[in-house]
C-alpha cells in the first residue's frame, strides 16, 4: 500500500458519499415520481444536481474498480461505508442538523470496523493462480526489456 492507493481508497469514500448526496438533493427537488409515470426518471437526469451526482457515482465506480484490482473485496468494502460516517459529520458540522445518539453509535461502530481492517494486509487472495499467463504481474524494472506482456 502506497500513497497513490490510499488516494484511490479516499476517492471511493468521497465519490460515493458526494454522489449519493447530490442525487438525493436533486431527487428531492423533483419531488416523488409516480409509479405510473416511470419515464419521469429519465427526465430526472436533466436536473443539474442529479447529473452531477451521476458523474460522481461514475467516478466512484472507476475508483472502486481500481481499488479491487489490487486489494481484497473485504478490504475495500469497509472504505465504502466510511462514506456514511462522512455524511453524518457533514450533516452535523456543515448543515447543523441534529445527529441522534444512535447515529453516533453507528458512526463509532463503522469507524472501528474500518480501523480493524485497515491495520491488516490489503491483499490475501491468490488471484495470480487463476490469472491468464500473459496477465501475470511484471516487475516494473523488467518492463523496458519486455516485448510482449
Amino acid at each position: 500500500m502506497n500513497l497513490r492507493k490510499y488516494i484511490v481508497l479516499a476517492g471511493v469514500t468521497l465519490f460515493a458519499a458526494g454522489g449519493d448526496s447530490l442525487l438525493s438533493h436533486g431527487m428531492k427537488q423533483l419531488g416523488s415520481i409516480s409509479l405510473n409515470h416511470l419515464q419521469g426518471v429519465i427526465f430526472a437526469i436533466l436536473n443539474p444536481w442529479v447529473a452531477a451526482g451521476i458523474i460522481l457515482l461514475l467516478a466512484f465506480f472507476a475508483s472502486y474498480m481500481t481499488a479491487l484490482s489490487w486489494a481484497d473485496l473485504t478490504y475495500v468494502l469497509p472504505a465504502t461505508s466510511l462514506g456514511y460516517v462522512l455524511l453524518a459529520l457533514v450533516a452535523k458540522f456543515a448543515l447543523h442538523e441534529q445527529v441522534s445518539p444512535m447515529r453516533w453509535a453507528g458512526i463509532a461502530l463503522i469507524a472501528g470496523g474500518v480501523g480493524f481492517v485497515a491495520g491488516g494486509p490489503s491483499l490475501t487472495s491468490h488471484a495470480h493462480r487463476e490469472r491468464p499467463e500473459h496477465l501475470v504481474e511484471v516487475d516494473p524494472a523488467e518492463i523496458s526489456s519486455e516485448v510482449e506482456v
Binding site: 484490482s69 473485504t74 453507528g106 469507524a111 480493524f116 504481474e137
Partner: protein, 130 residues
C-alpha cells in the same frame, strides 16, 4: 394477513437485493483481479488497454448485470416496504454476505480481524440508517 404478505414480499425483495449485490461484488472483484493492477497496466499500455480489458472481461459484464438486478430489486423492495427497514437491512446483510462469499469464492483470508470488522460495519450501517 395483508400485513404479513407485505412483510413477506419486502423480505423476499431484501434477500434478492443481498443475493444480487453479493454476486455482483464477487464477480467485479474477480474481474479486476483477472485484469490486474490497473495503475501498473495503464502505465505500461495506456488507458485504452485498461478500458478494453475491463469491459471485455466476462466477470465484469456479469457483475454489472447482477448490480442492475440488485438495483431493480431495491426499487421493488422500496415500493413494498419502508426505506428505514429496506436500506439498512439490505446494506448490513450484504456486508456479512460479502465476507462469507469473499472467503468461499475469492479465497480471501477472512481472518478474525476482518470478521469483527464486517460485523461492526454491518451493525454501524444498521444503526445509522435505522
Amino acid at each position: 394477513m395483508k400485513h404479513l404478505y407485505a412483510n413477506l414480499y419486502t423480505w423476499s425483495a431484501i434477500l434478492a437485493i443481498v443475493f444480487a449485490s453479493v454476486v455482483g461484488d464477487v464477480r467485479l472483484s474477480r474481474a479486476m483481479k483477472q485484469v490486474g493492477d490497473v495503475g501498473a497496466l495503464r502505465r505500461r499500455q495506456g488507458l485504452w488497454t485498461v478500458i478494453v480489458r475491463v469491459l471485455g472481461n466476462q466477470n465484469f459484464v456479469l457483475g454489472v448485470a447482477a448490480m442492475a438486478v440488485a438495483f431493480f430489486s431495491l426499487l421493488f423492495a422500496l415500493s413494498w416496504g419502508d426505506v428505514s427497514l429496506v436500506a439498512p437491512a439490505a446494506a448490513s446483510l450484504t456486508f456479512i454476505g460479502n465476507a462469507f462469499a469473499a472467503k468461499i469464492f475469492l479465497h480471501e483470508r477472512v481472518d478474525q480481524r476482518r470478521w469483527i470488522a464486517a460485523v461492526l460495519v454491518a451493525g454501524g450501517v444498521a444503526l445509522l440508517a435505522g
